[in-house]
């Protein structure tokens, strides 16, 4: 894998000793749709701005296709940005906005015109070339911003929460559109978002960030199915956590004694007997039944039922302090598995049980 962007021990400390990025290491492959995911203030935007050149790193090396670009000003970097609020030039037409980068690169008028037309065609805005940005809807402005950033054929395209200002329907259609654009252009996309669903839907790989640190890097299913720590497990999707100790280890699997009572069996993960661990499983991995059968049964009381349309969330009390959530697909006939206050059996496939580093 050729690395498009490579960062080594990259640090950013703002005046007043605010550390935005703590010694980050990351490699982003060529032609990859890479997402930086995390809550606000996690450092993802700082990392993007460092790649764009709007911020200078306090320490560390940032290279683009092997060239150290740490100290280059933004205009010398072959990367372009799609800004969160588009930042289209209000005094220029759509055409001039898209042509801006090309003109700065010294392309001839004829070249620039052809390229701008191709870009506007790509984002389906050919008829809007003469309009001013203020005469466009949010979605159209978004697409102009994309065309403007793609026009100079950057080696890496940076996208700073470009969908956050759009309404839900538009956002969903733009996801597919962006993914298509990335495949069509073959340009490396570095996409910043706080929306985990967006990240899972679009990315080849995701870096989950928190408090200025990269928590985990992996493809969407690895991030979802095998989170490395509690933060990642909690931030992506919903999660159930159980404190337990290792009760018995056999080659076929490990049995854990839950602090809340009961036992669960999972695959062997090399833990010693007596060790305290945090167990984790996704709400949709467990099933509910009136009478439990098979391994990994937990008797719970139904505390709450949340109807979500395609599924229903059951909030279950294991003991006084431990609440588990089980997401059950809704049946067409609208049958409810249990009512509030009833006792019910939760069963979990051992393969779905994970141990988290704490």
């Amino acid at each position: 894998m050729t690395s498009a962007v490579k960062i080594q021990a990259l640090n950013k400390v703002y005046p007043g000793d605010v550390t935005a990025l703590k010694s980050a290491d990351l490699e982003i492959g060529d032609n990859e749709f890479f997402t930086l995911l995390g809550p606000s203030g996690c450092g993802k935007t700082t990392l993007l701005r460092l790649i764009a050149g709007f911020e200078e790193p306090t320490a560390g090396v940032l290279s683009l296709f092997g060239d150290d670009i740490s100290t280059l000003p933004p205009e010398k970097r072959p990367v372009n940005t799609v800004f969160q609020h588009y930042s289209l030039f209000p005094h220029m037409s759509v055409f001039e906005n898209v042509a801006f980068g090309l003109r700065r690169l010294g392309r001839s008028d004829k070249d620039a015109k052809a390229r701008v037309e191709a870009m506007l065609d790509l984002v389906h805005l050919t008829d809007f070339a003469g309009r001013k940005p203020s005469q466009l809807s949010g979605g159209q402005q978004q697409r102009v911003a994309l065309a403007r950033a793609l026009a100079p054929e950057p080696k890496v395209l940076l996208l700073d929460e470009p969908l956050s200002a759009l309404d839900l329907k538009l956002r969903q259609s733009m996801r597919a559109e962006l993914k298509r654009l990335q495949k069509d252009t073959g340009i490396t996309f570095v996409f910043v978002t706080h929306d985990q669903e967006e990240a899972l839907a679009m990315s080849d790989r995701i870096a989950v960030m928190s408090a200025g640190e990269i928590q985990q890097v992996g493809d969407p299913s690895a991030i979802y199915e095998h989170p490395e720590n509690r933060f990642v497990a909690e931030f992506i999707g919903d999660a159930n956590f159980l404190n337990a100790t290792v009760a018995e280890t056999t080659p076929s699997g490990t049995t854990y004694a839950l602090d809340a009572g009961g036992t669960l069996t999972g695959p062997d993960q090399g833990r010693a007997k007596g060790e305290a661990v945090t167990l984790f499983f996704r709400p949709e991995k467990a099933t509910l039944s009136q009478v439990g059968e098979g391994p990994n049964q937990l008797r719970c009381t139904v505390k709450d039922i949340l109807y979500l349309g395609n599924s229903t969330d059951y909030w279950l009390a294991l003991d006084h302090v431990t609440t588990l959530i089980v997401r059950s697909k809704n049946q067409t006939d609208g049958t409810v598995i249990a009512d509030i206050g009833e006792q019910i059996s939760l069963s979990l496939d051992p393969a779905a049980l994970r141990i988290l580093a704490t």
């Binding site: 764009a52 205009e75 800004f83 930042s87 289209l88 030039f89 209000p90 801006f100 700065r104 950033a149």
Partner: protein
């Protein structure tokens, strides 16, 4: 019935504005207009007799044989005034833009301090401040003194009583009127647009030229109008710093109402200046309309 009551209420509400504009603008202009078509009184004032002499006098002069002949003297003064006013506007733009840009790029609490500093000259009388320029510019003044002391020149340079001195005085007087509107435009400017420009391969200067200046244009035009109009009619700086030989329109008007005692001619001059200014504003307004109301935010 109700619509009449409605109209009445609207007009009643407008009365204070109509009153102020009427008493302080329309009436004085009407008086000037009327006076410009009368005959000068012997000791100032006017005689109530219709005459277009004041306007004829702008371009023609009666010679010894009572024949009108073309006299470019006032036209020269008018063009000199226009020229100096334009130089003043350009000087204020060159000086005011960087100042406004600097202030706008400061943290918010410091911006207010700087804006306060910009207004400090207004705390002292203009006449006194312009006099101070004489102390700076005259042959034995600060600049010449310093240059001679440093041995750079032997003879003092002629700085005072030149057109340059007048322009300098006017730029000094009016530069705050340029800084404030440009600042207002720059302050609203989204810094992310500057980042977007840098991102698209424009360095600082190209960004300044293609993004910052166009977006500050409404402020620059407003500032230019605010400087051009008073500079065209100014008379304190031209009088004190220009000496007798560099007469400007403002001084000329002032002269007619004081020592020359030709009120109709002064009034006619005022009307002509006003007409020129109105034409400039009309051209600007038309230009703005054509460009779709300028920059939208």
């Amino acid at each position: 019935m109700s619509s009449i009551a409605e109209k009445l209420r609207v007009y009643t509400g407008l009365m204070p504005a109509v009153f102020v504009i009427g008493v302080f603008m329309i009436v004085p202009i009407m008086i000037i207009f009327v006076y410009s078509f009368l005959v000068a009184g012997d000791f100032g004032g006017v005689k109530p007799k219709f005459s277009t002499d004041a306007y004829v006098q702008l371009l023609f002069q009666k010679n010894l044989f009572d024949v009108s002949e073309f006299n470019p003297a006032y036209l020269i003064i008018a063009f000199r005034s226009l020229w100096i006013a334009v130089v003043t506007v350009l000087g204020c733009l060159l000086l005011g833009f960087p100042v406004a840009y600097y202030i706008a790029s400061q943290p918010e609490d410091r911006r207010n301090l700087f804006l306060l500093l910009i207004t400090i000259p207004f705390w002292t009388n203009l006449l006194v401040r312009t006099y101070c320029w004489i102390l700076v510019l005259r042959d034995t003044g600060l600049i010449n003194g310093a240059l001679i002391n440093m041995g750079l020149i032997d003879e003092p340079l002629t700085l005072l009583y030149t057109e340059g001195a007048v322009a300098l005085g006017l730029i000094y007087t009016y530069v705050p009127f340029m800084v404030l509107p440009i600042y207002a435009a720059l302050e609203r400017l989204d810094v992310r647009l500057i980042e977007a420009s840098r991102d698209l391969y424009a360095n600082r200067w190209v960004t300044l030229r293609h993004v910052v200046v166009p977006l500050a244009m409404p402020g620059m035009i407003a500032g230019s109008i605010l400087v051009f109009i008073p500079a065209l009619g100014a008379f304190i700086a031209p009088d004190l710093l220009g000496g007798g030989k560099n007469l400007m329109l403002g001084s000329l008007v002032q002269l007619q109402f004081s020592s020359a005692r030709n009120w109709p001619f002064g009034a006619a001059l005022s009307m002509v200046i006003m007409a020129v200014v109105l034409l400039c504003l009309y051209a600007y307004a038309r230009n703005v309309r054509k460009n779709g109301g300028g920059v939208q935010h």
